[in-house]
Symmetry: C2
Subunit: 116 residues, 2 copies
Amino acid sequence: MIVKKYHEVEKLAVNEEGAKNTSIRWLVGKDADAPNFFLRQLEVEPGGHTPFHNHPWEHEVYVLEGRGQINTRGESKPLEKGSFGLVMPGEEHQFENTGDTPFTFLCIIPDPDKAK
Amino acid sequence: MIVKKYHEVEKLAVNEEGAKNTSIRWLVGKDADAPNFFLRQLEVEPGGHTPFHNHPWEHEVYVLEGRGQINTRGESKPLEKGSFGLVMPGEEHQFENTGDTPFTFLCIIPDPDKAK
């Protein structure tokens, strides 16, 4: 069993092309021997966004604080504290901060080695 | 893609034996065609707790608000906003509200039909 606070986990800059002012904490990942899926905490600073991209695994997200939106091809949906979402495998998406405070959300992904 | 607010999802009483003053919202579950894992939001009222039990799948949890603790056999660890945890398959555990406001946390579990 693991119990920690999120700030005990190192915050890493997201340097992927198309990302801006975004960092990530891998709260529960491979290092924790997570059996099936990984829990990450993303922080997007004002003016920032994640890459507009797609990949063969899903996201389940839950917004902790701040204001933002999820951009897909041709559509945007607002996100705020208590919003959650499911991005299906292959769906293009981007998370963008639309406020003036950090936009923070949890993002859960399957372990690519185990997802069916 | 699904985007909603948590309060749009029905809050159901947890009637499992050993649960007290606890409710659950299945934010992303089988109905959403979640490919691999389910996102639930638990709310434990003051004086309440989940069952002390174990099962063959893991939990990944993240505390949203309130104060509580996770009880295992012979040990308790405090939980507050920003705490997260991994409960491994087979580990006995119970979540208990130790404060005087609702203790609310996310709890992610694998789809039992897909977990390895």
